[in-house]
Symmetry: C2
Subunit: 178 residues, 2 copies
């Protein structure tokens, strides 16, 4: 019998205006699932069920995605009551999942945006991050990560947009951008 090796989980943040934040988190999840870790991704502000990743992820053992958001883009200056409810519901679920001990990796996709839009209270999230189980790897994505979140994180990567095809007038494409 092998001894059970207890890994220490860190907090990772992927932020910045460049492409690759959510996809990096999905790649992390795939890698973890490949090592038989149990992964949950909670997506905030996304309710568009035809995202390509959802279809492929269904095929992967140990990786679950849940979405908390409506089909429309959220208006930052005047978010709908429904958007706030979705985000709050997502955050309640996130707290439950983090504390459950059932997962080795929890990804809170676009949580930074939900914070930036004021849909969830920052101090609640800080509290939730601080009380995570030691072994749990926690990953937050989204532009505009608040300073307090970055200070608490162990790893912060800023995705910087150097060049983007939208600048050339190419529209968002199925299988590439979503």
């Amino acid at each position: 019998m092998c001894p059970i090796m207890m890994q220490i989980g860190t907090i990772q943040v992927y932020t910045g205006d460049g492409k690759g934040k959510t996809t990096a988190a999905i790649g992390q999840a795939i890698r973890a699932a490949g090592h038989r870790l149990r992964v949950m991704m909670i997506q905030f502000m996304k309710g568009k069920i035809n995202y390509g990743e959802l279809e492929a992820v269904k095929q992967i053992l140990g990786f679950t995605i849940e979405q908390y958001g409506g089909p429309e883009f959220v208006n930052k200056n005047n978010p709908d009551k429904e958007d706030i409810e979705w985000a709050q519901k997502g955050w309640s679920r996130a707290k439950e999942v983090i504390q459950s001990g059932k997962y080795d990796m929890v990804i809170l996709d676009e949580l930074n945006i939900a914070l930036d839009f004021g849909l969830i209270a920052l101090d609640e999230v800080i509290e939730g991050m601080k009380s995570k189980p030691k072994h749990l790897e926690l990953i937050l994505t989204g532009r505009y990560a608040p300073r307090e979140i970055m200070e608490l994180a162990d790893l912060v990567t800023e995705m910087k947009e150097i060049k983007h095809p939208y600048q050339k007038g190419i529209q968002a494409r199925e299988g590439i951008e979503y």
Copy 2:
């Protein structure tokens, strides 16, 4: 019957010293495979078969990974003959795969490093990129992307390391870093 929509494929580059380059490419692959696109990832300078992503990816229809590299790290200042052979073999395969028309997305993982180490000739790669089929989405990852590659690319994201847990003395962990 639906008309066949021909998408225009772009060239994406993920570079920089931050975490998330390979994982972003894997996430892109998962998304594409979820939309039934056919994806091939060719990994340069990696021959460590226990990478977590390989195990999970086997479960995903339409996504194939091939590795071209030995188990040891390559010495930049004095690469082994074997390392050069691996890289050349990987590049031959990449050219074949790109031109075959059998894939919608081709990912050349760590190719930037292989170029930086001088294991493959830059002008050959530039030539290969320029002659890619129009519909093909081509993704290059790795630190130190040469300027010529970035100029040719449509999308360039620099992953910037803001904070890294190695700074705290945490070792590379199974399921997280590999």
